[in-house]
């Protein structure tokens, strides 16, 4: 499935993601990692911090609704894979981000911005694995 190249929308979105990360550090002193925020919400820890994660998640989920209110259109969510692949991929993502201690937002944005060597290594690892997986699925297996 072809998609349209959207450099300005993507750059604007990226700037907003960066801004949200800076604000979360300024107010809560935390990196904006979707994995950690979700895990801390689903599995509340003894040290607390459930309420701010819940508020943050509520804000995140409201994003598409605000876009809809402003533009009259929901953001595109086109899924070119089968439900089976969504389920298998989802479970694998959940396992990987837990063992790898982060995902695209935590390692790829916040960690790289903090010049964390761990996050550089993690980001190179998952970006390479994703590219290889997409190559194998689309051009070797041919799904």
């Amino acid at each position: 499935m072809e998609t349209v190249f959207t450099p300005w929308a993507s750059l604007t979105g990226g700037v907003m993601i960066g801004l949200a990360s800076v604000l979360l550090m300024a107010f809560h002193g935390r990196v904006f990692g979707a994995t950690g925020i979700l895990a801390g919400f689903v599995i509340p820890s003894h040290s607390g911090g459930w309420a701010w994660r819940a508020m943050l998640l509520a804000g995140m989920v409201s994003g598409p609704l605000v876009v809809f209110a402003l533009t009259g259109e929901m953001p595109a969510v086109d899924v070119p894979v089968s439900t089976t692949m969504l389920v298998i991929g989802g479970i694998i993502v959940g396992i990987g981000v837990t063992f790898g201690s982060g995902c695209t937002s935590g390692h790829g944005v916040c960690g790289m911005a903090r010049l964390s060597p761990r996050s550089f290594v993690a980001t190179i690892s998952f970006m390479s694995a994703t590219a290889i997986t997409v190559y194998v699925i689309r051009h070797v297996i041919g799904l």
Binding site: A26, T98, M112, R118, T130
Partner: protein, 149 residues
Amino acid sequence: MKHLITYLIGLIFGVGISISGMANPAKVLNFFDFFGTWDPSLAFVMGGAVIVAGIGYKIVFRRSAPVFEPVFNAPISTVIDAKLVGGSAVFGIGWGIAGFCPGGALPALGTGKTDVIIFFAALVSGILIARALMRLDLGGSSGAATSNN
């Protein structure tokens, strides 16, 4: 007031993800499909986010503490081990199969699309499975996934 500010920070992220294309698996998978229907848009997402966060963090860290908390709580681990590299590689494989990453899927839940809800349920299952495995193998290590890099 504190909760409102936190909600708005989440909202900025959610709107950013929504307009960036990160919530759209078709676009995400095309970013990685260099030999097929390549769409380089997502390089602009990561580039914009990392540059803004990099400059912003420098300014924020001039303060001695964040506004709502007594201390900054950024991850301090510097260990690069098989768990970090392997776990991240496993994440990449899942991302390449499904096209959603956690930060893309969470805001996408707001669209109410069944596909997103299915992925989200699988994602949470995977996190719980990994937590259970960690408790078995490591004798109850607490909260590896809450320290996010």
